[in-house]
Amino acid sequence: MEWNRVPTRLQEANNQLPSLVREMEKRVSYAHVLLSRNSGLQITLDDREQKVTDVEPSQGIVLSAWNGNYFEEMAASDLNKSRLSSMARELASSLQPAPGADLDPGPPLQRHWATQQQKDPTLMSPRDKLSLCQDLHQRTRSLDPHIVNVQVRYSERCESRAFASRTRLLSQNVLRLSLILLVVVTDGQRVQYDWLSKEGTGGLELLDITDLELRDLCSRAVALLTAEKVAPGMYDVVCSPDVSGVIAHEAFGHGVELDMFLKDRARSRQYLGKAIASPLVTIVDDPSYPGGHGTYFFDDEGQVASPTYIIRDGVFNQGLSDMYSSHRLSMPHTANGRRESYQRKGYVRMSNTFFARGATSLDDLIAGVGHGIYLNKTSSGMEDPKGWGMQVTSQYGEEIRNGKLTGRLFAPVGITGYVPDILQSVCAVGDDFVLSGGTCGKGHKEWVPVSSGGPHLRLKARLG
């Protein structure tokens, strides 16, 4: 468990955290401190280039002090002991505490967590990891003459966090891995591509890729060279778990982040406790989901991870919150306060967001469509919590005729619509379940690792 070893100087800073909290709480009713460090390895290679390098490390500390109305914060990359003490004194002395309700620091807890794994990547040398990537590249490169380049990107990130408040002293080491394989093809006129990605929190067991997956990847990339543009209109659609997940995340998830309630930006607020989706729909956000790319043990405000049922059986049950929004709104505090890094403020953010599994097989989902499209893979998505419009771009769609896939491809396919209409149109939910990892922004910034997914879904959507 080399990656789980806390460097000596970081441990020294960890030990100092409670005294920094005490220093700030001489002036205010509540304060907390977050220490973070990311490190790791990145390998990229393609037909013509290779690179093995550190992932860009981020190390820093955030001191947060509640002045009665809002948090004032100081953050720095320098973890020198005397520098940290003077930062705490400087922040405390600059505060102007105002009368206001105290924040609840939660029950006492002292604990360390680490990602469970079967094959520890840090026990393998960078040379051996490079060899694995080269092997994957070679296995793929020879599969089709249309291929002009194959890119392999491997990333392992060790994300360490230590949190202290007057009741809590928590630490976690999360190991986040990803492997992306990108195949670029040409027929001499058009250039197309497709990709395969494996990611999550855990060990190298997450990243196994079979020969069948490689062959499917290459044949699909070649098939996309002759993909057509979909005729715009409303369609019966079967969504792959990847597309289902982005609908859960973009269409609904962002609109139930409770800071959006505070800003009066969430149309969902008027539906709290009411039916918003088909009774077949249950949507969950769960930062404690084992192996998810968005998994963590506690959030950046020391709240221990647990699942939140956002929609249960079609009814909007509960939103996601951080300390500030739950305090202001007097709503439950969930473990969704996250920062891009110590350099940025914490916001309410999703973690692993997914539709719950249903009971219909994929064959039956497709068999129930007379004329429609099977949508697979998402390349982008964007939220619109106030207008409740939805934008998801699918890498490709495949025609369904009389309950069967025809092999006719359309690419790319834009999915738009009014969120309640889409969620209410869900008429069958698959019995499978897959999570896909990625990163999520708040608007166009504040990137954090997340996953989304669920089962296949059958619904109606506007494509273009």
Binding site: V52, N69, S77, Q343, E383, G387
Partner: protein, 441 residues
């Protein structure tokens, strides 16, 4: 610390070439919900990005190879410096790439990048910007501020490499992100804007605010566009998003020497690169790093190349790939450094003519997100707000999407005479695309 790193690099076995970039940043961040402060932050960060090149015999026995690895040194890493650099040498030694040399010493051009107004009093400027928004909104009936975020940044960057290049620069940045809510008939709609500039004076808060007040009001009465193929005008921030995509533009990818070297770009110098013959206005593009206060400007880039203005496309013909030194040497073409700001030659028609064309057509002013696929150039974007012009009238629209291929669309585009400077884009304020697919009601 920079000197200590360079001294240690000099004595690190296997560090055959190197570069170091020191970046020290001070940030002031100010967040408001309604008229109340939500959060206030001060951030200081410092790091040293060290790139090490190691030369060694190629493993296939063909020739000498070069590997490259990066390591970031943070404050407090000094006791581990030798070990960190040695680890980077080891990682660089694992990979075989064709050899290349580094940019050598040159005189860097002077490019204004630091705003003294930002440097003087960042917190006061952040507060003033929000007050300016709130004051202006007092005069706008039915429209209020949902939230605002102001990020102010003051950076100092120093660069050195083993070929003797060295430089220093100061940069400032200001990000204003705000959301307006307009109320009407029991409903509310929003307009969201995020603007990034290097100089406070380039924000023009009153003008941006006035435009988005109108957008928020129009969103209240907007309807879905029709389905079909229509002329579409795209303007201002929406156009910059389509063309530049925050640096992930297909135009940048296909004109990059790295993509050419990797066989991802099919473009050839001297050939027309747009798939259909040009029937619209001339499409002439420069990479411009010399634009004062441009978001991607600089007197030198991350590898020590001097800032410059490079002709990339001339009337649809590729004139040069933009090329860092490594890829320039691989392709035997001139090195230009990193792509700067996208400068697009304006057209001949006034904006007013473009938006008074033959009806029906659409004018899109805001997308939910618009990121054309960097490899294929295909795009799909949901319309956050636009206008439908038909039968002599104009009506707001939202929802639905437009789709197409950027290269094909540019071949038949009309460009406005008026230009806009929008952070990393300097070019026509609007473009009229002849035939774009609209998916609507």
């Amino acid at each position: 610390m920079l000197d200590a790193i360079i001294r240690t690099l000099g004595s690190t076995a296997g560090a055959h070439d190197w570069s170091v970039q020191q970046a020290e940043k001070r940030q002031t961040q100010y967040y408001v919900i309604g008229s109340s402060i939500e959060n206030s932050r001060r951030v200081h960060s410092e790091r040293y990005l060290v790139t090490i090149m190691n030369d060694h015999p190629a493993r296939d026995g063909s020739s000498q190879a070069r590997g490259q690895a990066e390591v970031s040194i943070l404050p407090g890493d000094l006791p581990d410096l030798q070990a960190r650099l040695a680890q980077a040498v080891f990682m660089a030694s694992l990979t075989d790439n064709p050899p290349y040399t580094l940019a050598g010493p040159v005189d860097y051009p002077s490019v204004p990048m630091a705003d003294t107004e930002i440097q003087a009093a960042p917190r006061e400027l952040a507060e003033h910007t929000v007050e300016q928004l709130l004051d202006s909104l007092k005069r706008e009936r039915g429209v209020r501020l949902s939230s605002a975020e102001v990020f102010i940044e003051d950076s100092r960057i120093a660069f050195r490499n083993s070929a003797g290049a060295q430089g220093g620069k100061q940069e400032t940045g200001l990000l204003l992100d705000f959301v307006l809510l307009a109320a009407g008939d029991g409903d509310e709609m929003e307009s969201h804007v995020a603007l990034q500039r290097r100089r406070h004076a380039d924000l023009d808060v009153p003008a941006v605010l006035a435009r988005h007040v109108q957008y928020a009001r129009d969103a209240l009465v907007a309807r879905m566009p029709r389905t079909g193929t229509f002329p579409v005008v795209i303007s201002d921030e929406a156009l910059a998003e389509l063309l530049m995509s925050e640096g992930h533009s297909p135009l940048l990818l296909r004109s990059s020497a790295q993509a050419k070297y990797q066989r991802i770009s099919p473009w050839e110098v001297g050939q027309t690169v747009l798939p259909e013959s040009l029937s619209g206005d001339e499409i002439t593009i420069y990479s411009n790093s010399l634009l004062p206060f441009g978001a991607r400007s600089g007197s030198f880039d991350n590898e020590g190349h001097p800032g410059r203005r490079t002709l990339i496309l001339e009337n649809g013909v590729l004139r040069a790939f933009w090329a860092p030194q490594r890829y320039a040497q691989y392709l035997n073409i001139p090195a230009t450094g990193a792509f700067g700001n996208l400068e697009l030659k304006p057209g001949s028609q006034p904006f007013s003519t473009l938006v008074q064309g033959e009806a029906p057509f659409y004018h899109v002013v805001s997308f939910s997100a618009m990121s054309p696929d960097p490899i294929t150039g295909d795009f799909v974007g949901e319309i956050r707000l636009g206008y439908e012009v038909c039968d002599g009238g104009t009506h707001p629209i939202r929802g639905g999407s437009i789709s197409g291929n950027l290269y094909a669309a540019l071949a038949k585009a009309r460009l406005s005479r008026e230009t806009a400077f929008l952070g990393d884009y300097l070019g026509p304020r609007a473009m009229l695309f002849e035939a774009i697919t609209v998916a609507g009601a």
